[in-house]
Symmetry: C2
Subunit: 758 residues, 2 copies
């Protein structure tokens, strides 16, 4: 299978120049005539009943145009899991109770932001404080208060997986171990804090420019909370300054902008601050993970019992998916004859956790990969060897859940062993230095239809013009991960035209084809790519008759589309310019433009994903035994993303993933006091790795060909964020003997483990 | 043929509330981050060679970001008549010569408008002045200088029509008369002066928000002048503050905004002033019209020789169409056994004339209708009787030119006679008062493909959703004439859903279906309406299978779509909600949305238009014989627009037309000095009728059913602007005996005719 030359090229992202020169327009850059500035009043308490709200003074402040509280709204609950309506537990503004510090209570819009801010201070809210439940242990304790009265307990959702005979397998095992891991919350820390601007039209329609990864989800949920038909809400393209899963739900400021715009007839904009984001924003789930594994003494895996409590915070958000996927990633890398997963999503009085790059997998992998390294250690087997023995491979099946149609995991393990100098370095250990390994598998989009969309999962519309150019319309979102370039590469490959001749129209729920579910779960390249290939195929079918009749071709001939020409594959001289061919086809269509749509929905691909990526990573670290400081000296990565459509983009994803993994492992943490208030709410005290903290890296792409993916491609975005933390943790153990069971791996914990502090 | 109830209703325009409350956003309201303000340097001379331009001082002014002259541009000539490339005679910025006072010479963009204005003053241009040719007589005189060196003479275009044996018919005539009329220039005087804002994307794409009636024409011509593929230019919806034909071409500021945006990488906006518009803007063609007619003594028409010189100003603009249509409107109302038309479009050193409501017809009709009244007078026949005798009727054919498939002209004449009290008032004349008649016919869009589009003349895309709503996408422009409402009525009638459930997406060349030619020639209702009906029919075809299988219907049944239900026409109880039916159909389409496209291009409809409207108007005036002041006391109108889709809209068009006709007849004029400089460039001295000047009116719609039109509809926009001036002129003659042969009809001319002044 030879792909067109443009597949696999390193093409700089087409949006890069406008972003690095500051010309790209984000939502907060937009100003519309008559626009009002919105601000949110948030709860100062983690858990309380609202007894009274008085907004009269705020309303009376000159310049204030509207003030709303929960009682003013239609009171429709929302949440991404439309398939399970009882999981939809959020209101745009609190009505009866507040459930975390930051829960939205009222909104103001005014002629300028200062007046809006001042008005917030004039709103009087009387609360009856309730005990704050700040841990999953408290939340699930006997007699714990209910955070949601409608819920039977504080466990909002349970997910179980169970196959094989667990008891029998554990009985057969030579070696069984049980461990409990705890992982901490971190935040997406996208560069662009959320911003939303709504404008109304004809009194009952809303156009929303908003910082989102999921315009269609926002359209639908905003419509339902406003009590309008979906068609009355239009979500429009803006530049998005990063998302990482943090911008994939309807959020209160989106509702408030739209609702207040309908009430005032004026455009209304809300923009969050960094403080808002860090103090009240979505974050990666903290989890408590109990894992019991059983092996034969040669290292062969027999069984795993994986029990996870996700600290979901005050609302479900995307927690159900994390709960679901966590169980899938507990067993995805290796073949387990028996596996049981019991995941519980638990309400606490904290800001809701939700989707974040990896979606449950970084946590599951931290536990599973660490435990694998512990077992290898105890069994006296090389950690890479024990993995090779149990590794998933192409054709492996998890019944009803997944079929592994391409898998370069073993090759990744071998490659990372080679490039890291694994064997030699382990033989000749340097004190205070160590190599550690972590592995991953990840999805290429989801199959489970939690949003209950009635439309295909992705769609594309392709138009070609007589000037040899094309237009590609997709609802997919580029949130910095590069599909605006990659999707054009796919179309360019199909039509044989250069990418700069393709205009991309994206992310406009009224004008781009219904109904892409958005950017999450690394779905865009595979799902939109497949839709584009289908649409391009229809365009080519429109051009075939022209070629066959103009060139008098025999039916056995096939056509090729390359270098802006259409020609007989067996006789490249016989052909014509692509533009000319389109012109002739257009002339034969009674003035009807050449337009085609393509769609993609995974079918018969199990429950989880149409395709899975794999990879392994080795971290090389040095630990200063006096300070406990951990220096990651090098990261070695080998990974299988199928065919990389744009090598530079994949490298960018890898670098970004290492940066995030590094932060997750060593530096980032949201610190909360005993009242549920987040204490580090600026980038001065929420510490992320910066450019100078990045270790050098070496990486190898294991090229497999994923049959379900466009040109053999699959995931290359989130998966790479998974192995870094367990690899670093393992390397720290190898360096100084400290095994981290509770992230992050701080110098303090190292020193304590070394007995240097108490 | 019974139309659905929504057809013919008076529905207030859906865009009205936002416009009357000041919330509608026009181009000049828009501000983009980093936006630059553009200004144009114009020629102070009517005719000159450019010897030298020095922009160095302007470029050096702090805050100036770019300065361009013609030599900096690709130098591609443009013009709307793409079918005749040599007619494309304009450049965005003058290169060798300037040809009128106001011809664009250079453009500046700067951080603020004041700096841009200041920079204009720093540009040095050295001109070599040439003799200014300011009349068609001078321009066509032997030895006249050439305004365009590339043109053989100053006559840029000739149009001839010739049928029947003219000499034989004149020989048979009992009564022949020859007259020469002169009509003056007037301006559209739309409320919104032109404004254009361009933004670039990826270095080689431009998005343009611009005050235009013809986004597709602007897209194509802008692309060709920039040297880009059409697909790299996107023209986007804004509110348009009136057009009347004055915003249907590519204009220099559109080019300059786009070109300078590409050069600077920043958004660039140009907005004209009222002075710019009045001094340099497009206007209605002044014409010199020679007309010779022959009658039998009973009033039967035999022949007409119609020779017209159009004063086109410095460039062709839409002059070729006016030249073309002027000949068509010279004979459209009456049956002429022989007719000859000789139209010449003449260059002069004046601002270019172009399309303006009526497109050549108000001028032709002023001459033709006045002459008809003169003949009736001399033959002693009632002016209405002589018209009835010769009037066009349904089924009449002008060979190869037009087929009159519906015609309510005779009925209009009878009605206007009745409502005006014509017979009695003419019998009992009051000194100083008079009744006058003028008639019209007009097109419902053009057939002749002067823009040489490869696409259908109109297109529509309809989507229906499971919430019972629909989306209608069209490239058609609402410039105040109401199609945003009327087109939704047409779709609502087809689908049986209310108009407020239809979202309209219009005027976006990237997202609305290719390739509407825009708003001109009263084409929108008929052409887009037909496309919508076709698209809706396809949607209904998608819903039929659901109904027939769900309800187990016999094939002889037919379905009705009314009141948000789909049901068996013969048994209305048997059916289901429209929304439910869409939902079921969607479920059966594997996630593919219900989307359909419809198209319309007139075929086999002659050369001119697919349908013709007709009407008659009687003006009742009082003339003060001491002051010469003319008071129009009442206007009586009867007209045939086929089926009026929205009666209120038609009334609005009629009122607006009377206002424009009144201004044309009595008040408006562009006064020029002998250097070609327009002297009245504010609304204080360019006098238009205001609300208080409007005469009361009475009107009757003669309902015919136009078989080519949607639900029987045809033109109701421009035609009504035609008869007012000749009707008033005739009434003035009846009142005081002054017959105007040279418009406007001023008090001065009346007094001179009465011998009261010299």
């Amino acid at each position: 299978m030879k792909n067109p030359a443009i597949i696999g090229q390193s093409i700089p992202r087409l949006d890069a120049p406008s972003k690095v020169t500051g010309k790209a327009i984000y939502t907060d850059d937009m100003k519309l005539p008559g626009m009002l500035y919105g601000k949110l009043l948030r709860s100062p308490l983690a858990h309380a009943r609202i007894k009274r709200i008085d907004v009269s003074k705020a309303k009376a402040l000159p310049g204030v145009k509207d003030v709303i509280v929960g009682a003013d709204t239609p009171g429709v609950k929302y949440g991404n899991w439309r398939l399970v309506p009882q999981s939809q537990d959020e209101l745009p503004l609190a009505v009866d109770k507040v459930r975390f510090v930051g829960d939205e209570v009222a909104a103001v819009c005014a002629l300028d932001p200062e007046t809006a801010e001042k008005a917030l201070g004039l709103i009087e809210v009387e609360y009856e404080e309730l005990p704050a439940i700040l841990s999953v242990e408290e939340a699930t304790a006997e007699g714990a208060g209910l955070i949601h009265q409608e819920s039977k307990g504080n466990v909002s959702l349970v997910r179980k997986i169970d196959y094989g005979d667990l008891d029998q397998m554990f009985a057969k095992a030579d070696y069984v171990r049980e461990d409990t891991f705890r992982v901490h919350p971190v935040q997406h820390a996208y560069m662009e804090p959320c911003s939303s601007l709504a404008q109304t039209e004809e009194g009952n329609r809303v156009t929303l420019w908003t910082s989102t990864q999921t315009p269609y989800i926002v359209q639908c949920l905003l419509a339902s909370t406003l009590g309008l038909p979906e068609n009355n809400v239009r979500v429009m393209k803006v530049q998005i300054g990063g998302g990482f899963g943090g911008k994939m739900e309807l959020r209160p400021w989106e509702f408030c902008a739209a609702f207040m715009s309908l009430r005032t007839g004026r455009p209304v904009k809300f923009t969050l601050t960094r403080h808002d984001e860090l103090a009240y924003g979505r974050r990666r789930h903290p989890m408590t993970i109990y894992s019991k594994v059983g092996f034969k003494k040669d290292g062969m895996l027999l069984a795993k019992d994986f029990q996870v409590m996700l600290d979901g915070g005050a609302y479900n958000a995307m927690g159900p998916t994390a709960t679901f996927l966590c169980g899938t990633f507990g067993n995805m890398l290796y073949n387990y004859p028996a596996y049981r997963y019991f995941g519980r999503h638990v309400y606490t009085n904290k800001p809701p956790a939700s989707a974040m790059r990896g979606f449950g997998a970084p946590q599951a992998a931290f536990a599973a990969e660490t435990q694998m390294n512990m077992a290898a250690e105890e069994l006296g087997i090389d950690p890479i060897d024990i993995r090779l023995m149990n590794a998933m491979q192409t054709g492996d099946v998890i019944p009803d859940v997944a079929t592994i149609s391409s898998c370069g995991f073993k090759e990744s393990l071998e490659e990372v062993r080679r490039i890291s100098g694994w064997d030699q370095k382990r033989k000749n250990k340097t004190p205070g230095k160590g190599l550690g390994i972590g592995c991953f598998s990840f999805i290429s989009g989801g199959v489970f239809n939690w949003f209950n969309t009635k439309y295909n999962f992705s769609a594309a519309e392709v138009k070609v013009f007589e000037d040899g150019t094309a237009q590609l319309a997709v609802m997919a979102c580029d949130i910095g991960q590069g599909p605006d370039t990659v999707l054009r590469q796919i179309l360019a490959a199909e039509l044989g035209i250069p990418i700069h001749k393709i205009r991309l129209i994206s992310m406009d729920t009224a004008c781009t084809p219904k109904a892409d579910l958005g950017t999450w779960g690394s779905r865009v390249t595979l799902m939109n790519g497949n839709a584009i290939i289908e649409a391009a195929g229809k365009i080519k079918a429109m051009l075939r008759p022209v070629m066959f009749s103009e060139l008098d071709l025999n039916q056995i001939h096939d056509l090729a589309f390359e270098d802006e020409r259409v020609f007989v594959r067996a006789n490249p001289k016989k052909g014509m310019d692509f533009a000319e061919c389109v012109y002739k086809a257009l002339r034969g269509r009674e003035g009807e433009p050449l337009t085609a749509r393509g769609y993609y929905t995974p079918r018969n691909k199990g429950l989880v994903s149409p395709a899975f990526s794999f990879g392994a990573q080795v971290a090389e670290v040095a630990v200063d035994q006096d300070t406990g400081q951990i220096q990651v000296e090098k990261m070695y990565t080998a990974h299988d993303c199928g065919v990389a459509i744009n090598k530079m983009s994949v490298e960018g994803q890898l670098e970004g993933a290492i940066q995030m993994g590094l932060g997750y492992a060593l530096m980032e943490d949201l610190v909360m006091d005993d009242q549920g208030r987040t204490l580090n709410t600026t980038f001065l005290d929420y510490k992320m790795p910066a450019a100078e903290d990045m270790p050098p890296g070496e990486s190898v792409e294991i090229e497999t060909y994923e049959p379900e993916g466009p040109f053999g491609a699959k995931e290359a975005g989130e998966g790479l964020a998974i192995p870094t933390a367990p690899a670093i943790s393992h390397a720290v153990f190898e360096a100084v003997g400290y095994r981290c069971m509770e992230t992050p791996i701080t110098p303090e914990k190292v020193l304590r483990a070394l007995g240097k502090i108490k």
